[in-house]
């Protein structure tokens, strides 16, 4: 029978080793999922304990890089949850048109599919030229993919359907050029996107944002780390700033549940309460 207590000690030591050696902090990730992914990498590599894996992580950088890709989930798609993007277009975009300059932070952007989705909406709504998008991720490998804007052609059918369901106004094929098995997103879409390295577990606040997107990232964090990230978002948002989370994520159980209010409840679109409202919310 497996000795779960000992395994948990080994897991904690492994995460500590990764943090001390490479600076990636997974110690406050939700345990069930990270443990599962690490154990599956262990089996795949034919390693028989987490302690042995710790040794390999410390001395074999190439191995660590493979493990890092397992540890950060990089599953995403364009216009993921079309109903969310429809709500963004119908409810949030008209409000953003009031501003003469916009700053958007996409935290945990992974390989960039959702960043390009946002760029397309901003183009169609005439906001792109006055927007600066900061797209960040902790993983350099996926960040490079995002910067390149090259995606597998096999997914395009689904992306096109998503785009149409999300209220797209043009022909989706106008936004990319197809080459054999991949597509390259139009250069014009990334002119105002700055891709950079940022880790929600260890890095700090990011400018005065009008909107922050962070979808399906917080589900991998434990409550403490969720509160840390939400704190960063709260501090990074300007007056009337919007926060958009994944459709199964909620601020309801967090320390910040009183600091935001619902804009579109079922799509997890929130807005930051002003300092005055925030005080009254605690009455």
């Amino acid at each position: 029978m497996e000795d779960i207590e000992t395994q948990n000690i080994e897991l904690q030591l492994l995460l500590q080793a990764i943090y001390l050696k490479y600076g990636y902090d997974f110690r406050n990730y939700a345990k069930a999922s990270i443990k599962r992914r690490i154990q599956h990498r262990m089996l795949k590599e034919g390693i028989n304990s987490l302690s042995a894996m710790q040794h390999k992580v410390l001395y074999d950088i190439a191995f660590f890089e493979r493990l890092l890709l397992d540890m950060s989930i990089n599953v995403t798609e364009m216009f993921r949850d079309p109903s969310f993007y429809l709500a963004l277009r119908k409810v949030v975009i008209p409000e953003l048109k009031k501003f003469s300059f916009l700053k958007i932070w996409h935290a945990g952007c992974s390989s960039g599919e959702e960043v390009y989705s946002m760029a397309i909406i901003l183009k169609e709504e005439g906001l792109y030229e006055r927007t600066q998008i900061y797209a960040t991720d902790m993983n350099e490998v996926v960040l490079k993919q995002a910067r390149d804007g090259i995606f597998n052609i096999s997914k395009l059918k689904q992306y096109t359907a998503n785009y149409q369901k999300s209220g797209g106004l043009e022909s989706f094929s106008d936004y990319y050029s197809a080459h054999y098995d991949h597509v390259v997103m139009n250069k014009a879409l990334k002119e105002n996107i700055l891709f950079s390295d940022h880790n929600l577990a260890t890095d700090g606040v990011f400018g005065e944002m009008n909107l922050i997107m962070c979808r399906n990232v917080l589900i991998y964090f434990n409550r403490d780390l969720q509160n840390r990230a939400l704190g960063l978002f709260f501090e990074s948002l300007g007056h009337e700033g919007y926060l958009c989370l994944g459709s199964k994520e909620s601020i309801r159980f967090s320390e910040y549940s009183h600091a935001f209010e619902d804009v579109v409840r079922e799509e997890k679109i929130y807005t930051k309460k002003s300092a005055h409202e925030e005080i009254s919310a605690y009455d």
Partner: protein, 202 residues
């Protein structure tokens, strides 16, 4: 009256093709005061959202809901994995969600739920495999048995699709194979008996 001696503390169920009817049959046999939480992965179309909770909720005396991220698991409640997310149980007995890739071509995957449930409930877990046309769950049932838990499999002859029950039976020594209509009553008996036994030992 949560007793540490209690033999079982949770039920996990995996089902796929034909599963909605099978789940209805099993759950409708259970009383409103069923003493354990029941956590279910039913393979669904990714965009199907919350209709399953409504269907099952209308046919059972138990509360049926979609599992929320970080929600604490409560006994007597039936929790469903949300479509297009893996559902995992943390050792503190709350839920986590994940959108990592499909496992056994499925998200949610039965194996992902069962494997995490093993770490949370160890030998106090009952796993049930119902009808389905794939092999999802066969790794999970093996893990549950390794840790000393209990496995019930639907008799393949009574399953709309028999591949999933057959795969589970092939994967490990299951405790009991039952026709669909007997699973609910058997589960109730199993849980009540073990609760009574634990009182005797106290």
């Amino acid at each position: 009256m949560i007793s540490i001696n209690k033999r079982f503390e949770a039920v996990v169920i995996g089902s796929s093709a034909g599963g909605i009817k099978a789940l209805t049959t099993v759950l409708s046999a259970l009383p409103h005061n069923f003493p354990l939480p029941i956590i279910i992965v039913q393979h669904l179309h990714p965009q199907s959202d919350s209709y399953l909770a409504q269907i099952l909720g209308a046919k059972t005396r138990l509360t049926v809901k979609q599992a929320d991220e970080k929600e604490t698991i409560v006994r007597g409640v039936v929790y469903l994995a949300p479509p297009n997310y893996h559902l995992l149980i943390e050792e503190d007995r709350s839920f986590s969600l994940s959108i990592e890739g499909h496992v056994n071509f499925a998200r949610p995957s039965v194996d992902v739920l069962f494997e995490s449930a093993v770490y949370a409930y160890r030998d106090k877990l009952i796993g049930i495999i119902l009808t389905g046309a794939n092999h999802d769950g066969n790794y999970g049932v093996k893990k549950i048995k390794q840790m000393g838990g209990y496995i019930i499999v639907q008799d393949p002859a009574t399953a709309e699709a028999n591949a999933m029950p057959l795969a589970a039976i092939a994967a490990t020594t299951v405790d009991v194979i039952l026709p669909l209509v007997q699973i609910g009553p058997y589960l109730l008996q199993l849980v009540n008996r073990s609760t009574k036994d634990s009182h005797l030992f106290k």
